[in-house]
Assembly symmetry: D3
């Protein structure tokens, strides 16, 4: 069985990590879609798709060291800006999958209309484990490193990602 899971991963954080751990406990293979892949260098979407591929890849590596080897496909997905085409877009860009994991009402609705089985994921500490909160902390110079897996911290430091976000936000100007 193969699952589909999508996020924007701006950045990948411990909430994503818990969901993936949950998915790994139920299915063998996972396609991870990187949503809004065309976006970067904004306050909402500071990181490129390629940088987010790295984050997801490193985080999945950590997870597999813990739960055992899995087959994972990491696929950047550009927006198509038309909800009625979105499921077909995802399907065409990804290896075949049987089940979708999501907590997003629109994602759930669109996949169910298309006849897919959708499983709702659990929520983990939604206050902190959110991209918005993490990016806010990065901009304000607060501590964000505890909210993401260790390998993601390394990816972000490797690209000097906090500096980029602060530059764009005008904080460092």
């Amino acid at each position: 069985m193969r699952a589909f899971f999508i996020g924007r991963f701006q950045p990948y954080h411990l909430g994503h990590h818990e969901v993936l751990r949950e998915i790994f406990s139920e299915v063998e293979e996972v396609v991870i879609g990187i949503g809004s892949a065309q976006e970067s260098h904004t306050i909402e979407n500071p990181f490129t798709a390629g940088e987010r591929v790295m984050m997801v890849d490193r985080a999945v590596g950590e997870l597999m060291a813990e739960v055992g080897e899995r087959k994972v496909y990491i696929i950047p997905l550009e927006d198509v800006y038309r909800n009625s085409l979105w499921v077909s877009h995802v399907v065409s860009m990804t290896p075949y999958f049987n089940v979708v994991y999501s907590n997003n009402p629109l994602v759930i609705r669109l996949f169910r209309e298309a006849g897919f089985e959708v499983r709702k994921t659990k929520l983990f500490n939604r206050v902190s484990y959110q991209g918005t909160e993490i990016r806010r902390r990065m901009i304000c110079g607060e501590r964000w490193e505890d909210l993401v897996p260790r390998p993601v911290v390394e990816v972000i430091e490797g690209i000097d990602g906090v500096k980029r976000l602060r530059d764009i936000a005008g904080t460092d100007v």
Copy 2:
């Protein structure tokens, strides 16, 4: 060191296989771009990006059984239809890479203009190891299975790919 290698992989064939074997002999990590990812269901581009991800993944698996484990990223890349933006597009969608392998004059030129190191790949039996020839054989009902790695045959059979190509070509109508 990380290399970038791009193809349309319609389908992945033994020519691609030889180039990858060559790249694996020189660098540790490879980003494989799946070009014209948005195309499918045409005579020139019968397979979806997701199906081509499967072909490349299975073929790379075979290769790694032979040459040892490597880090490989397989990234679908939609066309941007503007040569002057193409390298920036590739860079934004992929993990960082240091060197490009290609035999395509346009790809070579664009990456060199952008300051990348580009290495030309060797050519292997160009008459048969070509997507055009393989698709022609599929349409005409000739033997094509010898021109692609064994796992790619399985992927194509699993999606009944020859039937799709013949349908589109009007051969089965």
Copy 3:
């Protein structure tokens, strides 16, 4: 004489109905444009263009039972995201028309700049006869059926439209 009238019809409501009744009293033929045709499955635009074609068609049928047979063309119009091209876009997608009916300042301005006669429509009970209010009632489980023509209720029930809107809004999750 042929008139042009455009709306998003999310959903078609009694305000639209009154405007059409007014137009039918002045001209013989009407082109009804379905704006933002590419949008669907959002809180602002829950229904597809095709579903909105059905709403308009059924409502116009009711109206013609009342005022007599008219020639009506119902044309979905995708956004072009450039105001300076919009009139040309509309003109290319629709049968020729001589006069535009609208109350939207931008629509009026764009058609007048292009040399069209534009007639302002009357306003009918703008508090309730608004898409925003109707969608709000649908989401909150309040009574909305009195604000749209009877055949439109049937179209929306036929596609289980309120459920879709509530799903997307997260009300049913």
Copy 4:
């Protein structure tokens, strides 16, 4: 039961007419899609979508005078340039339909992959009843009027359509 039938209608000709007559003998309602709606003013696609709506509408009127009143929806459909999204695009832009009529291998394949019933249409005098041949005759100043229904001749004359085609082809320059 409602059928879907698509053509570019550059222009609508007697071949289309025969297919529609055939469809009307089997189903009560028809959605007629006007393909490549965004195209106009080229040798392959001289007429705008709006002009083609008029041709189809008039021709259907003639047909209904003959076979009795039917419910027909005429919907311009812009290209999406991605085969994997095309069926979803059509579905979103049109009233719900149960069966597709087509002789085009790609259209047949795409709708069948999406789970639709597709019925192949008969072919009627394919040598003359073709858009290419009719446009060639228009450009060369030969007799084309016998190849299209009478009301279509009137629409084309009303917009001075042959002059446009000859202008674009450079014949009149």
Copy 5:
């Protein structure tokens, strides 16, 4: 040496004028990019790219009467909606330049990531010399003419620009 300077110029005002005077004191040639060139007829972007070319051209003419003849290229730049492609887009559309002048954090960041020298411009009376304030005054019927160079007033009057903005804002309806 050739500089690049970009603005939306909705409209061109005395703040832009001061920055250009500053740039002219340092470099001989300037490429002036007209950003969001595809936008017009909105409250944020009332003027077309062509109208803004006229404003910039006339204002630059006034400036050169003061500081002497310079080589200036005025280039409309449509948005590409992808920050990672934007610098490549600008570079492809403009004559070669060596240095960028900007106060916009995103513009500064993107050009620096691409390896360009970027110089921050001074700020001049930011309260009044802002497009937002000038458009507000136009809509409210207040005095705006002191905030733009005299030739820009003439361009805006020549196209009856205040009337357009008020029409769109619904103020004149």
Copy 6:
């Protein structure tokens, strides 16, 4: 009076030069549109819009040294891929113009349909003064410098343009 003249200028050659000389003899101001501005690095369109702006600017400079100072606007124009929108696109991107000079049947037709005065330009030695022939000579290593104005040779040499074209064509590989 202000004229509009459009070309792709791949590269600007003596045929364009003669047409401009003709236009300058009749009108005072000229808007020169650089068509297919988004194209570059292909055999048909080797040069970027910015490089073509330079060619046109330098060539116009030479011409004005001969016929006297004129007001000229050089505007890159991206394709919109829809003939029915093209005139509106051009109008929105350029300063106002009263008359169009062209020998292209489609350009003539589209502007005339939109109500513009169009004047046909003379033809000058069409065998050699063609972009296709000049690019062929560049690729084949033949003499092309006599077919373009001297300043255009300098622009092309300054960007090593022949090398780029030969690289793309695969001649130098």
